[in-house]
Symmetry: C2
Subunit: 368 residues, 2 copies
């Protein structure tokens, strides 16, 4: 809880975001989706991807990197599969409709998979998998991203932080949700460290010379200049399994690009080789698995719940009081935020104020 | 290359394994599958899961933990999905037919997924995903396993080393294949360390007291007694992403058990709470994605190949000469073994000799 934070009720924040998005040129029905994805991120506690990102989307729209109107279209379709073109619009709008399409196909035919091309940053990957879990299905969501991560033994940031999200319904108050970058830490974690003047431990980032930088300030800039790179889950080299994180990131890159003949790795830079801005052409992959096609829903939920409970109740190392299960922290945060409102720290207040000024929208006021 | 190793041509080794398996009571057509999975492991360079394991399967059959005849049956089936009961037989036979079923469904309907219950150790996970890649499909294979891995902040070995394997066809000589345990290292790596009298680095294993043991001798026994546990990919705690490896392992547990109302976590011990031996009841999950339902096969293969080549040719840290791509080391090993034969180190020669003696099979001779 940063000093100077304000707490805004979720409903009020959603209205604000929808208003701002409409002002940016996003159609109202799409703005509702984008605001819901951003709010979800704040609810889950992934604050880097929530309202803190709203101005970034505006900056991208202004720079011509993505369009406010998302002309998504299914360019190829079968009863279980589809390829969507995201029309270089809002990634959340493409993502939402792609997962909805996958869920519809899985409802009818057991399984549904949709590959998306020409999309953009789609926010928190776990939003889409929870859509599937809410429909009683297992959901999987993958995306490539801006180059930031070096392959094992490499120094060049080439892979995105390429998230993997998986949700599965349970008999508990929340769905099992795994949602993580395939790097040790996401880019946002470096931004937080830089903001707080913290050093970072060896194994998060690798320098071009093979060293582990400790100093976090300007590290994101150094990565974007190719002078450093995030390390894949497992860290540098192979001793602690860095090749596994790298392999997972590469698998996500293939899922996200190869099913739709799309862009990948260095092609996902914000500017081309001459330095001119270019659309990100990010790709996503969504899978929905209809549990009813395997066994009664109730049995699946019970098994998932029992797995989570056995993990949670198992022996802890001395000094640790709690074993969390995937999705549990996010759920706890949701309950807290529903009660207290979304925390808006001073830096985000400032960026939202700047956004309102730019949009010349006096009606858009969070009363900071 | 251990002193005293012999090199046996792959064909000769396969004949030996089939002969031995038939002697163990495995029907000839099943023995052909089991021998092929074990040989593949030696070809890929995963020698812990190859012929080195043959005697372990015999020991398990003798102990009544699994049956030599695999009465697998599809207990539920739709055009895209199936649930298979593995009949507590040979995991490779169940796995082979389950992936074949998934591939058949994907050929007809775009996607195919098969959950398997009452199975046993199925060997190297990447065997099954390569089956899909050989048919021009993306394959995914997951399995739970004997409890060995502690959740983040936990000390109890509960999760299996729960492998994830993914293969995707490319335009290169080999398919992209990611195949890895979701722990930092597999159990086999500890056996190798113990055999060689090596110490292990902090972060591979956690003791009940929260310490990182360095001494590798008897560590597997300590894990099986619950006094230590393998750590998930990312290591202990959350700083290096240990919660991500844990989350992936938990997702694999759900995939492997929840779709077939199966056993999980502590239920997968070789003995029940009274110490009586019990079948392992391992579960698997197989997914096949028919690329032709998304776009022309050639485009997919080219994109995958380009991703692999860009990774391979990217900047290396000083002192490193090569960036490997997933599947590349296994392919290099295959080429080498096809030329030189499979290396059988002295310890494996001894276990095979003991197996031959027990099977009373004088015709089964590798002429060590």
């Amino acid at each position: 809880m940063a000093d100077g934070s304000v707490y805004v009720p979720a409903k009020r924040l959603t209205e604000f975001m929808i208003g701002a998005l409409v002002k940016m040129g996003v159609p109202r029905e799409d703005a509702i989706i984008v605001a819901d994805v951003l709010l979800a991120s704040d609810l889950y506690g992934v604050r880097s991807h929530g309202i803190a990102h709203l101005k970034m989307y505006y900056d991208r729209i202004k720079a011509g990197l993505q369009l406010p109107v998302t002309h998504w279209v299914l360019v190829h379709e079968t009863p279980t599969t589809a390829v969507m073109d995201g029309g270089n619009g809002m990634g959340m709008v493409a993502g939402y409709h792609a997962m909805k399409t996958a869920i519809g196909k899985a409802r009818a035919n057991g399984l549904g998979a949709v590959a998306v091309r020409n999309s953009s940053h789609y926010g928190v990957a776990g939003y889409y998998t929870r859509m599937a879990a809410d429909e009683g299905m297992l959901g999987m969501s993958l995306s490539n991203a801006h180059p930031s991560v070096a392959p094992t033994f490499g120094s060049e940031p080439l892979l995105g932080t390429n998230p993997i999200a998986i949700s599965a319904p349970s008999d508990e108050a929340f769905a099992f949700t795994f949602d993580a970058a395939t790097s040790v830490v996401p880019r946002g974690r470096l931004e937080v460290a830089a903001r707080n003047g913290e050093t970072i431990p060896p194994g998060w980032v690798i320098g071009k010379d093979g060293s582990f930088p400790a100093e976090s300030s300007r590290l994101i800039e150094e990565i974007d200049r190719g002078n450093a790179a995030l390390l894949p889950l497992g860290g540098g080299g192979e001793q602690m399994g860095g090749h596994k994180g790298y392999g997972l990131a590469a698998a996500v890159e293939i899922f996200s690009a190869a099913f739709q003949n799309g862009a990948f790795l260095s092609e996902l830079h914000d500017s081309d080789k001459s330095g001119n801005p270019q659309p990100s052409r990010i790709g996503h992959f969504f899978l929905a698995i209809n549990i009813d096609h395997f066994l009664p829903q109730k049995q699946f939920r019970e098994t998932t719940g029992k797995i989570l409970r056995e993990l949670r109740e198992s022996g802890k190392i001395p000094g640790e009081e709690k074993i969390y299960t995937p999705g549990e922290k996010a759920y706890g945060n949701e309950v807290r935020v529903a009660r207290d409102g979304v925390e808006i720290p001073p830096a985000v207040q400032k960026s939202l104020q700047a956004l309102c000024d730019e949009l010349n929208a006096p009606g858009l006021d969070l009363e900071f």
